[in-house]
Amino acid sequence: MGDTPISSDLIRGHIDTIVLGLLSTEDRYGYDICKQVALLSDNEYELKEPTLYSAARRLEGQGLIRSYWGGESQGGRRKYYAITPDGTQTYQQNLADWKRARRLIDRLVSGEAEKE
């Protein structure tokens, strides 16, 4: 674990993929998504609700996720998000792109060719 918190700049460009990834396993509501991000990052990164809502509106506009209202809870109805088939496809593509970029960046920042 690093000594300093992860810069949000490093993660900013991947929020859509992170949200799609979390929705690829099950439908989730906003706070649940934020909690999962904190959990998966060992509290090193916090996805704030306003950022999540902006991303969700964008993804829904692109047809990659859809939303529906769940049952009443203490604070009112919860809005759930579900991934669409287009979203699943985009997620797989983004994931593959990320893996390729990660390998490349690893090589570039270490200044060494990948060892076979």
Binding site: S8, D9, I11, R12, G13, I15, D16, Y29, G30, Y31, C34, K35, E46, K48, E49, P50, T51, Y53, S54, A55, R57, R58, Q62, G63, L64, S73, Q74, G75, G76, R77, R78, K79, D86, T90
Partner: protein
């Protein structure tokens, strides 16, 4: 929780209360309430939990600014960033496909009703040539730059109305020439071609909303 409701409604002050805004507020209230409940379950007092939950939201102004202000402001033209050449090629292929189907059906119907005379063949050939040229131009543009990105105004009603007026004008004009010149009934392929052009507006309206034609938007801004 009334305090959460007050906080959220206060944050959205000055925003036009559309159903979309009300839904966003409802979502935020439900999520904040769940967060406060979690913090209380972890041993915090209700007031403390409320303070922590609200503070953890950070700045709401970016989210709020995504909604229309209640002030009287001129309506902005909606736009979309699309893969232009890919979209145009699909629009033209689909429209010409539908136009061709109508053309074939009209030909069969016209032949059966004995309304089509040899003169129609010339205009049909001319329309066919224009169609081929149209597709080849769109395909060349696509081959040249398949990922060309363009921001387009999503204003289709006015464009469709204009296209329909042009279509009606062309149809009326060609029919008039037919009648005045007492020539063969050659104008029907022109009618169909004009209709196909108007159809492209409707096809583009539908396709431009689809994810595969939308170019990635600018990265999300955190905090």
């Amino acid at each position: 929780m009334e305090a959460i409701r007050y906080y959220v409604q206060g944050a959205f002050q000055g925003v036009k209360m559309t159903p979309e805004v009300l839904e966003q507020q409802e979502e935020l209230i439900a999520d904040l309430t769940a967060k406060v409940d979690d913090l209380v379950a972890q041993g915090k007092s209700k007031d403390e939990a409320l303070g922590v939950a609200i503070a953890s939201l950070g700045d709401l102004s970016t989210l709020v600014s995504e909604f229309e202000s209640a002030d009287e402001t001129p309506e902005a033209v909606p736009t979309a960033t699309v893969y232009a050449t890919r979209l145009d090629l699909h629009v033209i292929l689909i429209s010409i496909g539908i136009g061709a189907a109508v053309m074939i059906a009209s030909t069969i119907l016209g032949a059966w009703a004995r309304l089509i005379h040899p003169g129609a063949g010339f205009s049909l050939l001319a329309v066919l040539a224009v169609g081929i040229w149209w597709v080849s131009e769109a395909y060349s543009a696509y081959r040249e730059s398949p990922d060309a990105v363009e921001t387009r105004d999503l204003v289709y009603k006015a464009r469709f109305r204009k296209a329909l007026l042009v279509w009606m004008g062309v149809a009326f004009g060609s029919a008039l020439i037919n009648v005045v010149a007492q020539t063969d009934f050659w104008c029907w392929p022109i009618w169909v071609a004009g209709g196909t052009w108007a159809l492209t507006v409707k096809v583009e309206e539908r396709l431009s909303r689809r994810a595969e034609f939308q170019a990635p938007s600018s990265p999300a801004s955190e905090d």
